[in-house]
Amino acid sequence: MEIELHNLYDDFRDSDTMKAFAKLISEDAKKLTSPINIMEVCGGHTHTIMKYGIPQLLPENIKFVHGPGCPVCIIPKERIDHAYILSMQKDVILVTLGDMIKVPGSKGSLQDARAKGADVRFVYSPLDCLKIASNNPEKKIIFFAIGFETTTPMTASLLKTVVNNNITNIFFHINHVTVPEVMKELVDNDNKVDAFLGPSHVSVISGSKIYEEFPRKHKRPVVVAGFEPVDVMQGISMIVKQFIEGRCELEVEYKRLVTYKGNIKAQKLVESYFNKADLFKWRGLGNIPKSGLKLKLEFSRYDAEVIYKDILPLEEIRDHKLCICGDILRGMASPRECTIFGKACKPTSPIGSCMVSSEGACSAYYKYANTIQ
């Protein structure tokens, strides 16, 4: 059987289905005893929600709170400065993913470094580093690795190839983070979140099991949902049903790929190369225990943070004083409440973390809805 790509998403963008879910949710929402705030943890969901105008389909008593799950937004200035400094080394090609190159640190962004002569490249797949390394044997390729559980196995896979093939000119600067730890931080801080929409891609790798404790221990329902508009609407409907039926459970909307246990092979791959870091600083949120990964000691010869430790600063850098990204990421404020939103802080000149990537909440508000009310 031949599958065309549009067969994979057509049904999940079907207008009749969207309208039917909008009606169902509105009717169910009448039975809610109090309003609910749903946090979509992942920036991919924020993007879908804003791009497809989903808040316009929901009743007044259901609100979104935009979570911290944008892998580019959460990288603190200190670590962007590391990338900047590494890229400025004469014999280095710094490679990273997508719009990481746009984000300003205290010295500028990687785009600025490139304008000053640094060799900075972006790839779609980390494995593309192999080609860059073999085409440039005299250079050191440093992969500035970012992302949640979804992208970590790709970095692990690159490292595995590097180790097995004895490649001597690829190194790693690791900035991988994990979702449950930051969610824990958010519920511990007693924010406004009543339920979570969990990112499906993360759970394709990690399984839905990583969210078990949230309904059980923290009394917040979690629905793991896909990224298409119909997925999001169905996810919301499932959350609303839990509230009106008095349930508090972990459910999966994205059943077409998510299992309870996830992709064991990918998890093992990650475990063989990475350990949990004690602390990882998130831009806007500060230090969160056990939320980051680092290379295992036995692979430190590939670790750019070890090799270049003499030139990589460790001092802490404060976020901009007018920026309220921390509050936005905690669900305490909306982008429109920020005094610099859309004025000093825009996608072309971002100040706060939520404006830097297309997946950030402020950026999505600016791009799709900064005046449509």
Partner: protein, 332 residues
């Protein structure tokens, strides 16, 4: 603006506009330039005058090469002002070591495309620079066209107009992106690169009431619609489903996280046509092989002036913004 030029400042979108406004318009300010059209209208409205420089990697790609691009680009800018392309200059900067056979094949493409437009090259300049000073070859073409239909302007669009596009969008941008070294993808896509004068001429000959035309090059259809919304102080409302997008372009956009309407085109143009003539214009365009998917995509309103709104099938709406930043693939 930042201290050093970034790649994003050549994107045909917000950063590009800012650079042009703050540096070039500021210095060169004059009435003709400030019209901000595809080509300048000079000599009492009788001539259109335009220039464009071409740099593309790879030089040869599915559907065209830099030579064809260099002639289409300038001739299309002239055609968009209702002009017949007549005289072009051709300047090249060539990197030491460039293959003469490649140069010949580029020039051959230019010749073929000139014939389609009925234009000739009447002057030029050739520079060779040391290896590393340019990336293989840069070409500039400058052209003069004779206006055969006066009054076409992006500053006069009203609610009496409908907005059309001549074909499916984003093919050139998608083709070039997947041809990049860092992106390992293969596709059957071809650039849409084509001369648009024959189509414009057919519309003029049929006496279609044309308000404005613009070829949707860098920044894509999104950039054109946003420029028009600002220049004519109107709101353009696009019906999402109406935008013609091929499965290949849609697929690449799904994988890499791009918007088809932000991808560059080289043979795709947007038209503002008086309502009563819109259907007839679509029929005329459809007679051309590369415009078989011509259609009406948007209406003009006063809802949010100077903005473009995209209406979904399920009744929600959002802005379609001027593209900004570099074209970067999404992360996961």
């Amino acid at each position: 603006m930042n201290k050093y030029i970034r790649l994003a400042q050549g994107n045909g979108g917000q950063e590009n506009n800012e650079l042009i406004q703050k540096v070039f318009y500021k210095a060169f300010k004059n009435e003709i330039l400030e019209k901000n059209e595809d080509a300048a209208i000079i000599h009492d409205g009788e001539l259109a005058f335009s220039t464009d420089s071409f740099t593309v990697s790879p030089l040869f790609f599915a559907g065209a090469d830099i030579g064809k691009l260099a002639v289409c680009g300038t001739c299309n800018d002239l055609a968009m002002m209702g002009a017949k392309p007549k005289y072009l200059t051709c300047s090249v900067v060539i990197e030491e070591g460039f293959a003469v056979s490649d140069l010949k094949s580029i020039v051959r493409s230019m010749k073929e495309e000139l014939e389609i437009n009925g234009a000739i090259v009447v002057g030029g300049d050739t520079k060779v620079v040391p290896k590393g000073s340019v990336d293989k070859i840069f070409i500039n073409t400058t052209g003069i066209g004779e206006i055969i239909k006066k009054g076409i302007s992006s500053n006069n669009i009203t609610t009496e107009d409908l907005i059309l596009v001549n074909r499916d969008i984003g093919c050139h941008g998608a083709t070039i992106f997947v041809a990049r070294e860092e992106i390992e993808m293969s596709s059957s896509l071809k650039s849409d690169c084509a001369s648009l004068y024959p189509q414009v001429k057919a519309l003029i000959d049929a006496d279609i009431k044309i308000t404005a035309l613009r070829d949707a090059t860098r920044g894509g259809v999104s950039a054109v619609l946003n420029e028009w919304a600002k220049q004519s102080d109107i709101c353009i409302e696009v019906q999402e489903l109406k935008l013609p997008i091929s499965d290949e372009v849609r697929g690449i956009c799904e994988i890499l996280g791009f918007e088809p309407s932000e991808l560059a085109n080289e043979g795709t143009f947007v038209l503002a046509i008086k309502k009563e003539d819109a259907t007839r214009a679509v029929e005329i365009l459809k007679r051309f092989e590369n415009s078989s998917k011509a259609c009406i995509i948007a209406k003009v309103t006063h809802k949010n002036k100077q903005r473009v709104i995209l209406n979904s099938l399920w009744g929600t709406s959002r802005f379609l913004d001027t593209p900004s930043g570099e074209l970067l693939p999404r992360i996961c």
